[in-house]
Amino acid sequence: MMNIVNKKLNKNQNLAMVIIGDRCVNCNACYVACKTDWEIPAIKEAYRTKVWEIESEDNEGKPTISFLPVLCNHCENAPCVTVCPTGASFKRDEDGIVLVNPDMCIGCKACMVACPYDARYYDEEKQSVDKCTFCLPRLSVGLDPACVDTCVGESRNFGDISDPDSSVAKLLKNATSISRLKEDKGTLPNVYYITINE
């Protein structure tokens, strides 16, 4: 459906998350699955993904709600990588995943401030800023990311969107609407929000 899918760069894969908005039920299973798998510190501030509940009103003044699952967008133009003074924050050439190498981080938090999506947190035990890895360790043994695996509404889908046969590419192709967060920031996120109904 969209050109943005093909706008790709000399990478082997373009890993992306495709979130079906109609399917999220705000259970936050993703939050807990992620926190558990990666032993993220037991403080409210430390999380890699969560679901926002958005309260609003329609034109007639009736209240409405919707849910917005958020995580690192693994942007093509990742501002966090640009500002990192040591190269601790980096974007992998082979699949586009943005990572932080905790051995190189000096904790200046420039990346946290630079991220338009509030996707990063400081992990004092690790002495490093930390973030979503698209569950690269799990991917490396052939598993899905923890949040995708547990997603109750099967809202989260993950895969290589540069492969037209992948489930995520098909989802994007058949979606009735596609959006990404804060596209005006020019970050070219790799997390897509789609609807599949009119």
């Binding site: 039920v25 807990v32 699955a33 409405t64 043994v141 695996d149």
Partner: protein, 752 residues
């Protein structure tokens, strides 16, 4: 599945990069600085994942037993994942299910058998051995049984160990078994469904939401009161374009994609349902084939329903008549692939059985039984399972009025009326109740304890024994505490589920108990030994698993031990769609639009017992008060999840929801701190809450989330989090089922 290929060259690169790191190490920099920064080395740590050892289990963070794969690294549980093959969850877990580890490794758990040494509720306990504990149970309980008879013991149970407590109670000779799930949750719904269809909805609900074209939901919060399969099917149905008519005074999580949200007046669901039935019949929208062939009492219904026009319903429930008619038409248009769904916790306004009856009648009229998108037909596991002898239900009359010839002749004696037991304990009538055994239950927090004066009831007890994995407000009052191992630490009997696709799931201990705890079977057996009734406890969970494997074929056994679950897919959940005959196990063998069992009672006791629902107005709101509505949050079950750190991060308070008009009248604004005052008892909440001013709640009602407000001092995290709804909800009951009616609780809201 493998997305990443680390080829040999990649490995070599990695190896050489490591060499570089080695050289860097000599430069004498502080240790964290040693890593080299070549690209491969930077990613290296992210390219390994030790999944650990798998042991099969099913979840017990709530009651509904989703399939869980437990992964253990070096003897420590690392991760819980849904079992893809288990029909209860298809590989997914909710937030609570994912947080099972945090509950098991909670240092606040009960770590050994305890004996109370301080005053009740003070929380002063002495550590004792298991043998001392069992001896103590005997020396305390036996004299009471001798003096008052065995019926002086009442037992409460919730969890996988239920059968053992059940057996123990009966073997000791007491009829007073209560499973709160009946009278505090879905008793009235099940009764209405059984009246109509001969079978209950069951805990694993039989609505085929995944394939439906229209769901008409009466306050069943599929997303908030989350049960994984139901939520999955709900999401799938909506994503496939199903219409959703959602009826609730509150806009809950489930409204997110609702086609229509009908903000109904609290307590008037019956009026709306009757209005819909009226429209279905008046406009000839019902499935005449189904009604003729399978239904009993249609003519009576047709006559009876005339009075309940949509216009009449509109006056009662506050939804305009046109909308009611439109909904009925929409619903009928997609019939039979449609389903009308009653609330799950159907302990609301005291007219609950009749309300669900009307909803059941809607389903009957559209003929959705055994049809995709309607209501599927459950099948039993086609295996002759090992059977074990059980003690018989004692003939003694129950203390709570359940059973033939009693006040609630239709209430099942195997489940009991928990609310009746509280009352009997308070009044010590019809006979003295002097001892409680609580298994995984917490009456103080999860009943209408504010009005029932549960603390006074407790004073009448000479003995409270608590069997639980963790402390709770009620455990703090126990005289003897017997710690149960968590579901990750114990073997349990196989989970056999009659369902759309019936299956058997296994639970094997993933780790040894961390503390000095035991499974419920061993605890009951230990007690039984002292009373010399341990002949009922010869089949341990381990043995039950072994027995099961004996009756399975080799293939089946292999599948079960490999996958942790075995499904029997050769069943037909949609017999009507496939042209088969339907069977109903009601007294007439048909779907009962009118219930003959109630004919006599109707004559004797009046409208509440009508064979076809008769509408009655809900209790009106006292002046200057709000009706307190409450409901589940997706992040907590009960006390069980309330000290779990990761779930507390998701929610640790209970904001009071109030409509802007009401707030304006009282001069409140969003974010103000308020307290609740129970209009009936005058008691004020002990915890101030944030006011959430929102149109999401009906004017005249306030809402808080259920499950909070624990004052368990043994908890380092969940202590004093939020306000407990239990102090404010009503202690009414449904005259038919005898189950509770909690939504007639009224509160005043005052500034903190």
């Amino acid at each position: 599945m493998s997305r990443l290929n680390i080829d040999r060259r990649g490995f070599l690169k990695l190896a050489s990069a490591t060499g570089v790191a080695g050289v860097a190490g000599i430069t004498g920099l502080p240790s964290p600085l040693k890593a080299a920064s070549t690209k491969d080395q930077k990613s290296a740590r992210f390219l390994k994942y030790d999944r650990g050892v798998l042991s099969p289990s099913f979840c017990e963070m709530c009651f509904w037993n989703c399939g869980v794969n437990v992964y253990t690294r070096n003897g420590k549980i690392h991760k819980l994942e849904g079992n893809r093959l288990n029909p209860n969850n298809k590989g997914h877990l909710c937030a609570k299910g994912n947080a099972g580890i945090q509950s098991t490794y909670d240092k606040d758990r009960i770590q050994s058998p305890l004996k109370r040494v301080g005053k009740r509720g003070e929380g002063k306990f002495k550590k004792i051995s298991w043998d001392e504990a069992f001896e103590l149970v005997h020396t305390k309980l036996n004299p009471l049984i001798q003096k008052y008879g065995p019926q002086t013991l009442a037992t409460f149970m919730h969890g996988t160990g239920e059968p053992y407590i059940h057996a123990l109670t009966k073997a000791l000779g007491s009829p007073n078994i209560t499973i709160p799930a009946y009278s505090q949750c879905l008793g009235s719904r099940e009764m209405a469904w059984i009246f109509t269809f001969g079978t209950g909805v069951s805990g694993h609900e039989t609505y085929d939401m995944a394939n439906t074209k229209h769901m008409m939901i009466f306050g069943r919060n599929m997303a908030g009161a989350i049960q994984v399969r139901e939520a999955e099917d709900f999401a799938t149905g909506l994503a496939s374009g199903a219409k959703l008519t959602y009826i609730d005074p509150r806009l809950s999580e489930s409204c997110v994609n609702a086609t229509d949200w009908l903000q109904i007046n609290p307590g008037t669901d019956l009026a709306l349902a009757l209005g819909v039935i009226n429209a279905l019949i008046k406009d000839l929208l019902f499935d005449a084939d189904f009604v003729t062939k399978y239904c009993y009492g249609f003519e009576e219904l047709k006559k009876h329903i005339k009075q309940y026009t949509p216009q009449w319903a509109s006056k009662k429930c506050g939804i305009d008549a046109k909308t009611i008619e439109r909904i009925a038409w929409d619903f009928a248009k997609d019939a039979p692939n449609v389903v009308a769904i009653p609330a799950r916790r159907m302990t609301r306004y005291g007219n609950d059985v009749q309300t669900v009856r009307a909803i059941a009648i809607i389903n009957a009229l559209v003929g959705n039984w055994g049809v995709p998108g309607g209501i599927w037909v459950r099948s039993s596991v086609p295996v002759k399972l090992p059977e074990y002898d059980e003690p018989k239900q004692p003939k003694t009359r129950r203390a709570d009025g359940a059973g033939k010839g009693e006040k609630y002749p239709l209430a099942p004696v195997s489940l009991g009326r928990t609310n009746g037991i509280y009352e009997a304990t308070l009044t010590q009538k019809p006979y003295p109740l002097k001892a409680w055994i609580l298994y995984g239950t917490n009456p103080i927090n999860h009943s209408s304890s504010g009005v029932n004066d549960i603390f006074k009831a407790i004073e009448n007890l000479d003995l409270i024994i608590a069997i639980d994995t963790q402390f709770s407000d009620t455990v703090m009052y126990a005289d003897i505490v017997l710690p149960e191992s968590t579901y990750l630490e114990r073997d349990d009997a196989p989970h056999v589920q009659k369902d759309k696709i019936p299956f058997i799931a296994l639970r094997k201990a993933a780790i040894k108990p961390i503390y000095d705890t035991r499974g419920c079977f061993d605890i009951c057996k230990g007690i039984a030994k002292k009373f010399e009734i341990d002949k009922w406890f010869e089949n341990s969970p381990k043995k039950q698993i072994a027995d099961l494997f004996k009756v399975l074929t080799k293939d089946q056994a292999d599948t079960l031990s490999k996958d942790g679950v075995i499904k029997f897919e050769n069943v037909d959940p949609y017999p009507r769609a496939s042209g088969g005959e339907l069977k109903f196990t009601t007294s007439t063998g048909k779907v009962q639009l009118s219930v003959p069992v109630l004919d006599d009672m109707y004559k004797k006791f009046g409208d509440d017992f009508s064979p076809i629902p008769i509408y009655k107005d809900p209790i009106t709101l006292p002046k200057d008060s709000f009706r307190l509505l409450f409901g589940k949050t997706p992040f907590h079950s009960h006390a069980r999840t309330q000290n779990n750190w990761v779930l507390l991060e998701l929610q640790d308070d209970t904001p009071v929801w109030m409509h802007p008009t009401d707030a304006k009248k009282l001069g409140f604004k969003d974010g103000d701190m308020v307290n609740l005052i129970n209009t009936q008892t005058g008691a004020k909440s002990d915890h101030s809450e944030r006011l959430k001013v929102t149109k999401r709640i009906k004017q005249g009602s306030v809402f808080i989330h259920h499950g909070f407000g624990h004052r368990t001092k043994a908890w380092s995290r969940g202590y004093e989090k939020g306000t407990g709804d239990n102090y404010f909800i009503s202690n009414g009951f449904d005259p038919l089922s005898g189950a509770g009616a909690f939504n007639n609780g009224f509160v005043k809201v005052v500034r903190a």
